[in-house]
């Protein structure tokens, strides 16, 4: 019986993870996979918003309490990193390569854009909204957009 179960599990491996599982319009969307991947991100975002709100409303609280509230969102954030790594490990080798290329493109692209803005600022060309360099939120949005572009380019290459 055990050997039958073993052979069955070897012959029918779990489907490999692809980013399509988490894209609602891809035609391969899986709510279960999406939740498994992104639940901790949602929790981290909620924790972050609540801690920001509390910090604004209660400036009289001690430094220890405020620091605790500020750092609490890090925990679900780390758990999100864990679920992201598990998702990537569940991909097959081509998907992992595509993601590596896309993340590399996004990371280097964001750094270059940040450097360009910083150089422009220091040479006296002040751009609206980025007078003090690229903010955390702006960097996140740029990295996300570049990741989408990088994924599309890499997917096209291996299609």
């Amino acid at each position: 019986m055990t050997s039958v179960l073993y052979i069955g599990s070897v012959n029918k491996p779990n489907p490999v993870n692809t980013p399509d599982f988490c894209s609602p319009f891809s035609g391969h969307y899986s709510f279960k996979k999406d939740i498994k991947l992104n639940a901790w991100f949602v929790v981290a975002a909620v924790f972050y918003l609540v801690s920001m709100m509390l910090a604004k409303r209660h400036p009289e609280w001690s430094v220890t309490i405020r620091a605790t509230f500020a750092l609490v969102p890090l925990l679900p954030g780390l758990l999100y990193v864990r679920s992201l790594m598990r998702f990537v490990r569940g991909m097959d080798e081509l998907q992992r390569r595509i993601q590596l290329e896309a993340w590399l493109f996004a990371t280097i692209g964001t750094i270059l854009i940040g450097m360009a803005i910083s150089t422009l600022n220091s040479s006296g060309v002040h751009l609206e909204r980025v007078e003090n360099g690229l903010g955390m939120g702006q960097a996140f949005i740029i990295a996300f957009v570049l990741w989408i572009v990088g994924t599309a380019v890499a997917n096209r290459r291996y299609k």
């Binding site: 012959n11 029918k12 491996p13 779990n14 489907p15 490999v16 692809t18 097959d92 080798e93 081509l94 998907q95 390569r97 997917n155 290459r157 291996y158 299609k159």
Partner: protein, 64 residues
């Protein structure tokens, strides 16, 4: 690298999806290997060779 994956798959009358399921990879990977846009890793090449009961060098041939 040239390969005979498409021909071998045809002998079994499998779709790309069937072969992908057998090997535990995505259909895109099978397509990329067949169109020679992607060379598989050594473990995947061994899996393919074992599945079709052929030596690796019979399936994959280096372009020299």
């Amino acid at each position: 690298m040239k390969n005979l994956l498409r021909e071998l798959r045809a002998t079994k009358k499998w779709s790309q999806g069937d072969l992908a399921d057998e090997l535990g990879v995505s259909r895109q990977t099978i397509n990329a290997i067949e169109t020679e846009k992607y060379d598989p890793s050594l473990p995947l090449a061994f899996k393919i060779a074992r599945l079709f009961k052929q030596p690796i060098e019979e399936i994959f041939k280096a372009e020299i």
